[in-house]
């Protein structure tokens, strides 16, 4: 039997958890799920549709917010009771973190971000490294496999079905709730289109040359009802705020148009923009790696091409 940690935010399921459920179902006919906190019971229907036979709801009056160490404690308690062969979760910051707590409690290995899993003795996994530019084949030497499922390695597939809901009370230790959740606040970033929602992103790299160089990118982005993005060189130079950074350690975006201006295309940048529908490059260097990922390119100086493009867009609009 495989136990899947299903993540939810105040009763709203994390879609990546459905992928983890699907991955589990492909490994075993016997899948059960666990949610942390009473609100989790709201996801029972979806969890059943995606193949889990039982949904364990871990409850405790203190489990009102995301408390990863307490999640680890709840997992530990259930694992000891129902003895699964494997515990899986989504390869997301929260999935990785909560399973890491379980692994730490049990002093067992954990394999994060797996694209393939074979349960056995030892277990065999393939896991992503370097923002999934490299994969590692590894063995996991433990009876219980603890692993997270690489986000895009499996599509969620509904199979129909329903999950029996079983509540259980978690016995928390004082250490589990040493971290207090104070609450939530709206994102500090001011108005405008957010990177993740934007249909058009005009993104600038080192080639823009300085903070003042971004004026022409902003104007073009405004004209196309889009927003400005940038590379890490730009944020670490203090030219633009980190909220605009695209990439592995920035934001992952998927606009209709990603216009990459003066960006070389390091794999950590590509990791954030490769799901864009169309990538257009403006770069002085015809050998820049980003051309390998782009659909169209103009070879030239962005300081000349962008103003000309802006003028042409205005003209085309009449």
């Amino acid at each position: 039997m495989i136990l899947v940690l299903v993540d939810h935010d105040r009763g709203v399921i994390d879609p990546l958890s459905l992928r983890a459920l699907t991955a589990a179902r492909k490994l075993s006919g016997d899948v059960q799920a666990i949610v942390i906190g009473k609100d989790g019971a709201k996801v029972a229907q979806e969890v059943g549709e995606y193949g889990a036979k039982v949904l364990h709801v871990a409850t405790n009056a203190q489990l009102t917010d995301y408390t990863p160490m307490a999640s680890g404690r709840a997992l530990l308690q259930l694992v000891q009771e129902i003895k699964p062969e494997a515990v899986l979760a989504a390869g997301s910051p929260r999935g990785n973190e909560q399973l890491a707590h379980l692994a730490a409690f049990m002093d067992l290995p954990m394999a994060a971000e797996c694209s393939s899993i074979k349960i056995g003795n030892p277990h065999q996994v393939t896991r992503a490294r370097w923002a999934a530019n490299l994969y590692e084949e590894a063995l996991v030497h433990a009876d219980l496999l603890i692993a997270t499922v690489l986000a895009f390695s499996v599509e969620a597939e509904a199979v129909g079905g329903s999950a029996e809901v079983k509540e259980f009370e978690v016995k928390l230790e004082p250490a589990d709730t040493m971290v207090k959740v104070l609450g939530r606040a709206g994102e500090s970033k001011g108005g405008g289109v957010s990177l993740t929602d934007a249909k058009v992103i005009v993104s600038g790299g080192r080639g823009v040359g300085g903070p003042e160089g971004f004026g022409i990118l902003e104007e073009l982005a405004g004209l196309l009802e889009g927003t400005v993005g940038c590379s890490r060189v730009v944020t670490s130079s203090g030219w633009r705020p980190h909220a605009e950074q695209v990439g592995q350690t920035g934001t992952k975006v998927a606009p209709d148009l990603y216009l990459a201006c003066g960006i070389s295309g390091a794999m950590q940048h590509i990791a954030g923009c490769k799901n864009s529908k169309t990538i257009v490059v403006i770069n002085t260097d015809p050998e820049a790696p980003i051309l390998g990922y782009a659909d169209y390119a103009i070879i030239g100086d962005l300081h000349k091409v962008i103003p000309a493009l802006t003028a042409a867009v205005k003209a085309a609009r009449g």
Binding site: H101, M110, V140, K199, M267, Y296
Partner: protein, 252 residues
């Protein structure tokens, strides 16, 4: 305020990877080395805290002898001293790494008020060493932090969830893992670089353990390179781009 930062030497990888002939490691002959971005932010945060509150900043790494290069580079930014747990150069699995870090931390006279980590390492991205250390030291841990203030023995931290920020607090001594964007890491000054060569750096041998997460080999992900269609050079290519924007529905 005594702060410890755990960091790791990693190759600075560009557009593509080459592997060693046995496929177990990245071919680094032509690569430079650094630490992952998150960890640069952790060092910067440590330097700022010690500037504001006094105390000490110690760096700790487990890795090959050459990791001294990364420790010196970060000492130049403002850390007080560094500890290198020397390995034979092989990657250690997360449990073995965490156990060695814990032993080294326990062996210190200083009881660090705050231990900072990166959210994940750039190369192996196991997402766990910090959590294991927190459990072993019985300390609270807050991960993925994008903003942090320390006052009155309490760490207040923010992490970003979707379009919102979650606010957390934990009593010191605590562990915090930070993300790129927490701050802008400074460049070392020339005097900083000169001083870094004389700052204390303890080298200890670390005893390997049998890995429970055993790496067999690496493979390079197939490139999804499509190869761009070149529309032309300079402003002369703009009309061709306008046609593309019409084709993909950006312009009517």
């Amino acid at each position: 305020m005594d702060v410890l930062v755990c960091l790791k030497r990693v190759p600075i990888a560009g557009g593509t990877f080459l592997l060693t002939p046995d496929n177990r490691n990245i071919e680094t002959k032509h690569l430079g080395f650094g630490v992952s971005p998150h960890e640069e932010n952790a060092v910067e945060a440590g330097v700022q805290l010690v500037e504001q509150m006094g105390g000490s900043l110690t760096l700790l790494t487990l890795g090959p002898t050459d990791s001294e290069e990364q420790l010196r580079a970060q000492l130049a930014i403002g850390a007080s001293r560094a500890i290198l747990l020397e390995t034979d150069g092989e990657d250690w699995d997360p449990q073995a790494t965490a156990a060695a870090l814990v032993d080294a931390i326990n062996a210190e006279e200083t009881k660090f008020d705050l231990i900072l980590f990166g959210a994940e390492s750039a190369d192996s991205a196991g997402y766990q060493i910090h959590v294991r250390v927190a459990h072993a030291l019985n300390r609270p841990i807050i991960t993925n932090v994008k903003a942090m203030t320390i006052a009155d023995g309490i760490a207040k931290c923010e992490r970003v969830v979707g379009s919102e920020r979650e606010l957390y607090e934990a009593p010191l001594p605590a562990i915090v893992t930070v993300r790129d964007g927490l701050n802008i890491p400074r460049y070392p000054s020339v005097p900083g670089r000169i001083q870094s060569r004389k700052k204390p750096l303890d080298i200890k041998k670390a005893e390997p353990r049998v890995p429970k997460l055993e790496k067999l080999q690496l493979t390079v992900a197939p490139s999804n390179s499509k190869g761009a269609e070149i529309l032309g050079e300079g402003e002369a290519a703009v009309p061709a781009l306008i046609e593309v924007l019409k084709k993909i529905g950006i312009l009517a």
